[in-house]
């Protein structure tokens, strides 16, 4: 069997033509083939959320998604578009300012999940925020600050839109 398969992946608005093995997960291809190590690998079974990316705007666990099945879809990672992404940047600023980052390992997944949440629901309640983050673990247990950061990002982005 000739293992390598040519696939074309659209990541952060850039097209990458790569030869991959069909059993590689999207997480492995992002980190190892494309060198985008912002998306983290941890539990490998969909419990921790550190590997979260957006596929066609929906947040998914990249460790449970075959890269070959992500062809033809729009993939967004924590690296963001080369030209910069105001929403992602605001969420990151809010995380930094509100002390929502301790060791930082869970942060990329949390930020990506926040982007998906605020896309669907620009003014989420605290319960809705916690519900959106059930699939994310922070082992420094800084959840209160993370919720505050998301509330801060939501209100700043709302003000931004009014302007």
């Amino acid at each position: 069997m000739n293992d390598l398969v040519d696939v074309s992946l659209q990541v952060n608005g850039v097209r990458y033509d790569v030869a991959i093995r069909p059993w590689r997960t999207l997480l492995e291809v992002l980190r190892e083939t494309l060198g985008m190590t912002g998306t983290k690998r941890s539990c490998g079974e969909g419990q921790c959320g550190t590997c979260s990316v957006l596929i066609d705007g929906e947040v998914v666990n990249a460790c449970l998604y075959l890269a070959i099945e992500a062809q033809g879809k729009e993939i967004e990672t924590i690296e963001g578009r080369p030209e910069g992404e105001p929403v992602l940047q605001q969420i990151q600023r809010s995380f930094a300012e509100k002390g929502a980052v301790q060791c930082g390992f869970c942060t990329p997944g949390m930020v990506i999940a926040t982007k998906a949440l605020l896309g669907d629901n620009p003014q989420p309640s605290e319960d809705e925020i916690r519900e959106a983050l059930v699939g994310h673990l922070c082992r420094c247990t800084g959840y209160v600050q993370i919720v505050e950061a998301i509330q801060d990002a939501a209100s700043r982005l709302a003000r931004e839109r009014l302007r």
């Binding site: 293992d3 069909p22 059993w23 997960t25 490998g44 079974e45 969909g46 666990n61 699939g135």
Partner: protein, 302 residues
Amino acid sequence: MTYLRRLPKFEYVGPRTLTEVCSLISGGAPDDAMLLAGGTDAILQMRRRERVPRRVIGLKGVAELDFVREQADGGLSIGAMTTLHSLLSAPAIRQRYAILHETAAQIGGPELRNIATIGGNIAGALPCADLPPALMTLDAQIKLSSHRGERWMPLRDFFPEFGRTVAQDDELLSEIKLPRPAPYSAGTYLKFHDRQSMDMTVVGVGAFVVLDDDGRTVRELRLAYANGAPTVFRAMKAEAVLCGQLFGEKVLDAVAEAACSESSPRTSWRANAGYRLSLIRALTKRAIRRSWQSASSQKGTK
């Protein structure tokens, strides 16, 4: 360190239509080829080497299996590749099949619900799956498609033993159909798990009550269990205990006892069999009480 292992090697095929899928599996080699729906269970099974297929047939590209459609007869038809997220966003499910909405919302988090599918949750044939008990209490029918044609069967007859379905090797689960909900009817699914989110079910109890026109007598009761036995199952003897009866705590005890004697839960590190039986006893009563309350409160509203 299972979680760091890569997936076993396989060849990947990505059909675009149901006809293509049927012809790919028409040879019917069981372990050789594996159908991959959302993959939230199957990828883990491969990572643990519980399944080592030579060929994976990915179904994510089969758009015709992704739909939620209201039927002319008042029922609802759901494509097997519909994600749990799509189930949750379908107004017809929220309004008319609340138990299904309630159940899907209790599975995983957004990341998993955006990938996991209703068909995968059923066809994986795991006793801990949450959608099959909820769907069984709704009297769901399922469609099996193959190159030979298609056939319909009740979901409650789909699981002959642990990890297996009665589908032939050349068949796939393609559609789920729910009958029109009866007046004065309601159900609930109680999922017992340790962390209240992102956790495997210890015991899950689905109950669905249909009342007579008097709004008090139970015309029909349907009970189905996750992790109550090696497969998800309907406890039909327990159901019969309450049929034609007025609702009351005494008869409820009898139903719960009957449900326990129909169950055969296993002991695992998660919970031992005795504990699971206690859960079945308590949750059966709680689920019927809640369903009865909400069905009887519909009196006068229809």
